[in-house]
Symmetry: C2
Subunit: 347 residues, 2 copies
């Protein structure tokens, strides 16, 4: 007996034995169930403390069919945008008494699938996912649907699967920003795009195209370079464009990483930012400030996205309705920074 009690894992039975009651009483007392007298509750809690009782959440989850856990799949933490998003998700989740299991796909479809499979196996109450850039196959999401697990896509998503998604209003805010830049007096604007099989890539390209169209600027195909979302992609894109000797005044890049690559290429060939060439990108304050000169951005607030994604998911978990899936759009603000010369002010 004493041997048992000195074992690592104290259980409710151990407490019950010590107190000469049944384990049901202990279970109820621990959960503050109205059935149990205050006196008994105190006794049980005290004994639990003494024995160093740590409730076995696994057993609890198995029998209660509820884990209070949210599974998250994120492409990469080294992209600091996602680090900020995840941080804020954890905050918001624990605010609502949910735990979080974070997994990382490293922008790889196979990892993404196996992450989701694990999370489903762990019977998370809901899923928050940002699909990898590679993702083409939606089979695993059909499985999520079949198992009736709530899922909310954030930042990037696959459409037509019937899930809610939270994203920035890139099309609207991107267009508005380019509008402002064109009003400022710029007409020669290039776009370093991502991949158009990913929705953010698609939306941002559309923002570019419709802003030019709206302002009656012709679209030069040579100035749209579709090449990816990474630093090297921006570098390569600029070098490719530079060889053709026909440079724009402004480069609008799909994100700040691509902008960083472009910065380095531009400096390497001896051109100056913003005098020779200006840049603007989708990005966020914290990283924009680290650029030399600071990057003009269409500002995406990662904390806002994290909070909204978690709130949306928890709402779905609790309602458990099959309401029509919603697209939640977050507005972004344009932040003029010194990577673009403000012509109007110069006069």
């Amino acid at each position: 007996m004493d041997f048992l009690l000195s074992m690592a894992q104290t259980t409710q039975s151990d407490i019950a034995k010590k107190l000469n009651v049944t384990r049901i009483t202990v279970s109820k007392a621990l959960r503050d169930h109205p059935d149990i007298s205050t006196k008994m509750k105190k006794l049980v809690c005290k004994m639990a403390d003494e024995l160093g009782y740590t409730p076995n959440l696994i057993a609890k989850n198995l029998s209660s069919k509820k884990t209070f856990t949210i599974g998250v799949v994120v492409p990469d933490l080294e992209n600091s945008f996602f680090a900020y998003v995840v941080d804020s998700m954890i905050d918001e989740a624990s605010e609502n008494n949910y735990h979080m299991i974070l997994t990382i796909s490293r922008e790889n479809e196979q990892n993404e699938i196996s992450n989701i499979r694990n999370l489903l196996g762990m019977r998370v109450d809901g899923l928050l996912v940002c699909v990898s850039q590679q993702t083409k196959d939606s089979q695993i999401y059909d499985q999520v649907n079949k198992m009736n697990i709530p899922l909310v896509f954030f930042d990037r998503q696959i459409e037509g699967l019937g899930f809610n998604n939270v994203k920035f209003n890139d099309k609207k805010c991107g267009e508005q920003t380019l509008d402002k830049i064109i009003q400022e007096g710029y007409g020669r604007i290039a776009h370093f795009a991502g991949y158009t099989n990913v929705s953010i890539g698609r939306d941002r390209l559309e923002a570019y195209q419709s802003a030019l169209r709206k302002n009656n600027l012709s679209i030069n195909k040579e100035w749209i370079i579709e090449g990816g979302f990474e630093i090297t992609d921006g570098y390569n894109a600029f070098m490719k464009m530079y060889q053709k000797k026909d440079l724009p005044e402004i480069i609008f890049t799909v994100n700040d990483r691509v902008a960083l690559g472009a910065y380095s290429a531009i400096k390497e060939v001896g051109l100056k930012i913003p005098e020779d060439i200006g840049l603007v990108a989708f990005g966020f304050n914290e990283t924009a400030k680290t650029f030399i000169p600071p990057l003009a951005i269409i500002n995406q607030d990662p904390r806002q996205m994290g909070h909204i994604a978690v709130d949306t998911l928890i709402k779905v978990i609790n309602l458990n309705t099959t309401e029509k899936p919603q697209e939640i759009l977050i507005d972004e603000e344009f932040v003029w920074n010194s990577s673009i010369v403000r012509k109007q002010n110069k006069i």
Copy 2:
């Protein structure tokens, strides 16, 4: 019957019924147990696929007493060093077929405690923790010990609790670096320290003191400012020192965040880096490059730390020995960057 099979969660029993065998057979077949014939295994796996069976890991863990899950507690992902560490931990863990549950303390002792409590409740096989700066109470770690859960501290740790820990060899490498700087011709060196109740703060301060002592330089108490690990701490430290009008040639800061704060203060008062004042800090390549001018660093490789921490933990989990706890030291390399003028080369 059909109704049951169309339910969200398929179980082993469902498969067994369809195949007219017992669930034990199914369980074994799924685990590729030698007991079962190849033919039966194929049948079972096929049916599992058809029914969209997703094994319930919770049930599995409860009965097998093994979760193949590592719990991680990290202070903050917005500190990109930790983002890199966590990324590499996840890589290394999944390489070894472990999952990871990540929690974040936000440098807050209470969060740290509740995170560990949850992780213990989830019966993780092991724990990887970097203690928060605030942490003073070690009671929760006694609990970890009592429950016999392997734990490895990384980067920051509490000593004397009997756990392994992985850390950079700050004392040795910090001292060697300052040695080089002193050899270069610098004698007036200040130190912006962290808190000395955290081991990294203590070690780095000692590196500073012993390097000066070794080179027969007197230690000026006014030049040791103990104030924390954050950006504002570096800012405040410099401003405090600046008011006394007695400035050093070099400031050695406890980390790159403090250095960043110092950069901003130095620029604000109109001094130039590195001409008027030089800086060196513990940091890592990825962030050092984002400084203007690039920060000279004692380079800490986050990926190396992540890998070693995971490997060490898995070793302890598998051996389950109570070997004497070890301190694993990772060597750091000094990277001269342009935040310090190289006097020797100038001649």
